[in-house]
Symmetry: C2
Subunit: 509 residues, 2 copies
Amino acid sequence: MTSQYDRIQNNHLHSRVVSPEEAASWIEDGMTLGLSGFTRAGDVKAVPFALVERAKEESFKVNVFTGASLGSDIDALFADAGIVHKRLPFQADPTMRRSINNGDMFFVDQHLSHTAELVRSGVMGPVDFAIVEAVAIKEDGQIIPTTSVGNSSLFAMHADHIIVEINLAQTPLLEGVHDIYDTGRQGDRSPIPMMSAKDRIGTPGIQVDPDKIRGIVFTEQADSPSTIVQPDGETQVMAGHLLDFLRKEVEMGRLDETLAPLQSGIGSVANAVLHGMIDSEFEHLEVYSEVLQDAVFDLIDAGKVDFASCCSITLSDDKMKQVFGNFEKYRDLLVMRPQEISNHPEVIRRLGLISINTALEFDIYGNVNSTHVSGTKMMNGIGGSGDFARNARLAIFVTKSTAKGGNISSIVPFVSHVDHTEHDVDVVVTEQGYADLRGLSPRERVPLIIENCAHPDYKEQLWAYYEEALGRGGQTPHVLEKAFSWHQNLAENGTMKFEKEQKETAEVR
Amino acid sequence: MTSQYDRIQNNHLHSRVVSPEEAASWIEDGMTLGLSGFTRAGDVKAVPFALVERAKEESFKVNVFTGASLGSDIDALFADAGIVHKRLPFQADPTMRRSINNGDMFFVDQHLSHTAELVRSGVMGPVDFAIVEAVAIKEDGQIIPTTSVGNSSLFAMHADHIIVEINLAQTPLLEGVHDIYDTGRQGDRSPIPMMSAKDRIGTPGIQVDPDKIRGIVFTEQADSPSTIVQPDGETQVMAGHLLDFLRKEVEMGRLDETLAPLQSGIGSVANAVLHGMIDSEFEHLEVYSEVLQDAVFDLIDAGKVDFASCCSITLSDDKMKQVFGNFEKYRDLLVMRPQEISNHPEVIRRLGLISINTALEFDIYGNVNSTHVSGTKMMNGIGGSGDFARNARLAIFVTKSTAKGGNISSIVPFVSHVDHTEHDVDVVVTEQGYADLRGLSPRERVPLIIENCAHPDYKEQLWAYYEEALGRGGQTPHVLEKAFSWHQNLAENGTMKFEKEQKETAEVR
């Protein structure tokens, strides 16, 4: 007969099993918590819930550091309870977003590979508690993570205390999939010895002093399924454009049909683009990404992807059952790494990734906004897009050319917030087409972006702006007093279209 | 008796010696030239001059790729002759700047570490001629560069033909100082085996097939001296603030008195900051930078710097005489690398550099403009600042808080061009003080930036903008319709000050 205690193979640690409530009671006002969890996968659940319960009786605030976004509505519950002083490096929850944008809490929007350096250097103070989800604790104290690594190993190594949540709903077959590697301190560090997406360079679990494990909690709650929207007509067309671009690279001899390791950001568009490869001629593909979404497993099933490296696995409900219900089939084709490694500039540049991420908007010169609606309100955060775009072989950004029924153009004169500068953006893709910006000066980029990517409803307006700007001259011509006029028009009139009749047409549609 | 032919140790190549005019005659309309030269050091001189002469008789255009800026007025002569179709990745010449901003030629403003990947991948077409300055050609055909490496090895390896300019004015003692390493193609690449600024990982010269050397030209023209302005009162105060910040890092145990390898951008402010270390308590310093300016040699003379890695040496007239006249004293303390290596994210992050670069302006949230005056007119280019800032242990930007007699504030509500995003900027320094932005959300950054860095004449205006923006809410509050109002006011009224009486006060001073 198996017992849940079998998951704690170090017998000395059996006495550390406590209730989530007890573990939560150790957390004090002003502390910093390092939670496991990356894009809804492998997040701790029981202790956060207990902490939210405690907040009904007591007033306190904590800093919450994670891998990326959490599932199980934890960010919403935290925000509603008002217990977060500072949150980093990423979130994707509507309730928390509201708190952030209202100024009720601080959010530090970081490159996902940067958090590790900051924690290691101690700049943000100590991590008081690392709280990490695991499938097991080994005899030597190694903690085996679940469906994400994120910053879990970092937090566990640097925290004063560790609380482990052993999640019995996660398949024990996850053991052996992780590859935990710590870079060590800057200036006292060797090269990361990875030459291919497949290379294993670390240990299967997080090595910590078992005495630091202050408490162990059991839970059985599954990860939250991804909320991904399935490919639609427009995302399929975008995927087609991107495939055309990649075909051209093959034709020019710059890639072969195995392409290069693929990174794809989270989101429906990026997922659809990967999905579009199923029926393509590309084969023996490799993935070196943060998150594996449904499409990667479809590509594995279709015999298109040979191997996938990631930092988390985030699937829809059905796909979760299929993948984790048949995990023997997939586990040898996967490796799961800390986000510092999945997103490390050293590895990204060496492997020469093809990086596909979603833009909120981009401008006529190729600057990209990934985070702020109309320059002010945070959506989710930059995530890993900057780690990848800056260092990839191909930094590709995708977005539909319009939003809000055509009243927002995703291509604007001047992005209202810059997350990726013109220096870091190689190719932009919309359902209209793609623009290959490599080696082009700003003035050379404009016609490609407007003609290939903008929606026909906005082309004339974009040309009008650019022509007026050209009259002022410069490397990057602008009419500064009108640079944000499209966003202003949106705020005032609900549309970026300047002609009243155009707006009415859009409303009729 | 020595002859200039002693510099060509491969006897088969003696027959390739030609006049600069003959070498220049091989260049055809539409070709791409890869020239040596980085921040006025080690640039080819004779063939470019001959090419400019040819342009008096003939109409043609070429693409000019370099390491960085050229000396000897070559960029000015090229621009005046109208022979450049596209220039990359950096320039710093007023005449060429005018041509760029007038739209008479294209300028691609690239991260200095990125050019190599683009050339290697063939995206920008072939390099027809690499034209590189050398002190010698070895028996096996190795080309020994002079006072910069820049992209010379890249161009020589990838060009169809090579023209070597042997510069008899450059000391032959430069041989042995260079360390030429090629990363190879992305995806087929090993880690860069460097663990410290001192490590030598390559060869002393550029290894090429001697048959590719189509012509050899002799010249005796010295490098152009740097135009650096000596430290003044304000830059000394800024250096003091930066040293205070570094002292605090030592106090907090995050650095010791040897600090970490230093990178310092070109320019008077950065030079002054390094100069400020001479009388500090810091010692056994290492430099891992692009360009070594005067200050590094002063620090070596003062026994403060133990070793310096660079990609070029750019000195004032007097310093050039001192350093190259006594080069035995310095050569074992120096290594000169290709710019892909001096600026490589892999190495920068591994070594954990302290990176100090100059900003044109920064905004209340910490975004930095390094390139565009009022968002439109190119100054010089981003250079290596992005390579370093994104990957360094400490990304520090320095600038005086005002310019143009106080009519321009370097701290603005919204930078008119973004080269370094809020995600990549750790510390900003002006003569007023410094703001340590690490781990801070946008709203936490504002008071530090305004109170510590802005000029007193502009604090009230900055607070007024921010308070109005706060009323609109958001992670990064802005009043979009006023975001560039300071730049507009400057264009219309010659000042960023909104109060007429304030402007008059400034004029009286």
